[in-house]
């Protein structure tokens, strides 16, 4: 099975729109540079759902503007991306990695993840802070 990421992380794109990025277990997606295998997969799924949100928004804009061809192309691209999502699900099925989308209106607003060893209430990635006490 290939381990190549399906999609480029959209946060690296100049026209990235944060409003289209679904939350991941209630938080922003993990840092781009993460080396954790599971968090990299979280980014993969977040990226593919971002793309689906983007294409749904494009189709909606085209429809409202009366641009039938633009709408058709956006919906075609949406279907293609949803197939990529299916491939991603299949790629990680044997490992039990699940991304369950929450749809609100026509937008995927959040993804709920599960994988081996993940505790249900775990934060996706740990937060570290330090304080200095003067004694």
């Amino acid at each position: 099975m290939s381990t190549e990421p399906v999609l480029f992380d959209p946060r690296l794109l100049p026209d990235y729109d944060p409003s289209l990025m679904p939350l991941c277990d209630g938080e922003d997606p993990p840092p781009k540079e993460t080396e954790d295998r599971n968090l990299q997969r979280v980014i993969e799924f977040a990226s593919v759902y971002y793309q689906m949100n983007l294409l749904a928004a494009r189709a909606d804009s085209a429809r409202r503007a009366g641009d039938l061809e633009g709408e058709r192309l956006a919906l075609e691209a949406f279907r293609s991306t949803s197939r990529q999502r299916d491939l991603l699900e299949d790629r990680y099925a044997a490992e039990g990695f699940i991304a369950e989308p929450i749809l609100k209106g026509d937008r995927y607003v959040e993804l709920i993840f599960n994988w081996a060893g993940k505790r249900p209430k775990d934060s996706l990635y740990s937060k570290r802070f330090e304080i200095t006490l003067e004694l």
Binding site: E89, D90, E95, I98, E100, N114, G117, P120
Partner: protein, 329 residues
């Protein structure tokens, strides 16, 4: 009377098998033992008539750690899982003990039998439903079937069968569409109640399979509860299969399970630090799609056919298929 405190720290399916041993103990040796248990699943013992309260510090109580070492011979000897704890208890107590029924021992209270199924408001009242479990724990991923295959089964019965999907939170239970989703939303008692009122069960080799046999049928029904098990080649059939279950397996059909169940843990390593990732515990024949070959050989059409044996209400003269071996085409 001898006081016994039976300890078992294993999974719910294992504890359910222990209920059969306690039943056998009291039915074959009435009045000789007072029994209490310490297990991770107290809900399985609710309403059990064979238990009596024994405190942990009771000096008269004998503590028995319950095991089933018989499993190490299950590929060679003609025993079912139900014999496991019974044989062990028989040896520990130096008594003769045999199974008294071919299922675990679950009891329901009147409120559980009489009330409608919990959490299933979406169900049409009075319309039969099947319970579906499309995954399992992360320790034995070789038991999993592919989510799209489960979905194909559900889709096939779209107009005829209501499916209620169950599964424990934190385990692998991919969401299915066209089902009533109760994943992570049932307590053990609610699951038992759900099984009690169900028309059938379809699942891998898992706790739910044991429940399908152990939970009585409503209204005094004597017929066996329909259950279709997608089993593959991990466990020997005679060790796991219950009467009336359609047990879809590949034992004897592949080199890796030619002489019995392979008892492997995982299809691919999960990288979670678990000993189940060790090479010796990994499937020898994973397919490119990430399924063990034994599970891949079981097609949605096989499962559909097995369910239809029940849903089509075949006449009583039709042969009952006890197990079905899937062969390579």
């Amino acid at each position: 009377m001898e006081k016994l405190l039976l300890h078992c720290r294993l999974s719910p399916g294992d504890v359910l098998m222990l209920t059969a041993a306690v039943r056998a103990l009291h039915e074959q040796h009435p009045g000789r033992f007072v029994t209490d248990v310490r297990t991770p699943c107290p809900a399985l013992w609710k309403h059990n008539p064979f238990l009596a309260r024994i405190s942990d510090d009771d000096p008269e109580a004998r503590l028995v750690q319950c095991h089933y070492p018989l499993i190490h011979q299950c590929n060679q000897l003609p025993y079912h899982f139900i014999h496991g704890y019974i044989r062990h208890l028989s040896a520990e107590l130096n008594i003769r003990l045999e199974p008294t029924a071919f299922h675990g021992d679950i009891h329901l209270g009147p409120e559980e039998k009489g009330n409608p199924v919990p959490l299933t408001q979406q169900l049409e009242r009075g319309k039969p439903y099947w319970i579906i479990c499309a995954g399992g724990k992360y320790d034995f991923t070789v038991k999993w079937w592919h989510r799209r295959r489960w979905q194909e089964v559900v889709n096939h019965f779209e107009d005829r069968v209501n499916f209620v999907q169950v599964g424990e939170s934190g385990h692998y239970h991919p969401p299915l569409t066209g089902v009533i989703d109760l994943r992570g939303r049932t307590t053990t008692r609610e699951l038992i109640q759900l099984v009690y009122h169900s028309a059938g069960v379809v699942c891998p080799v898992t706790f739910l399979m044991h429940l399908a046999a152990a939970v009585p049928r409503p209204n005094g029904l004597k017929s066996l509860r329909p259950c279709v098990v997608v089993a593959g080649g991990r466990e020997p059939v005679h060790w796991e299969a219950y009467p009336g279950h359609q047990f879809l397996h590949t034992i004897g059909a592949l080199p890796c399970c030619a002489q019995g169940g392979c008892w492997k843990s995982r299809t691919v390593p999960l990288g979670d630090g678990s000993p189940h990732d060790q090479p010796a515990r990994l499937c020898e024949r994973p397919t490119p799609a990430g399924l063990p070959e034994c599970m891949s050989l079981i097609r949605p059409s096989h499962v559909i056919q097995a369910i239809e044996l029940f849903t089509n209400s075949l006449s009583s003269t039709s042969p009952q298929i006890y197990t079905q071996t899937i062969h390579q085409s």
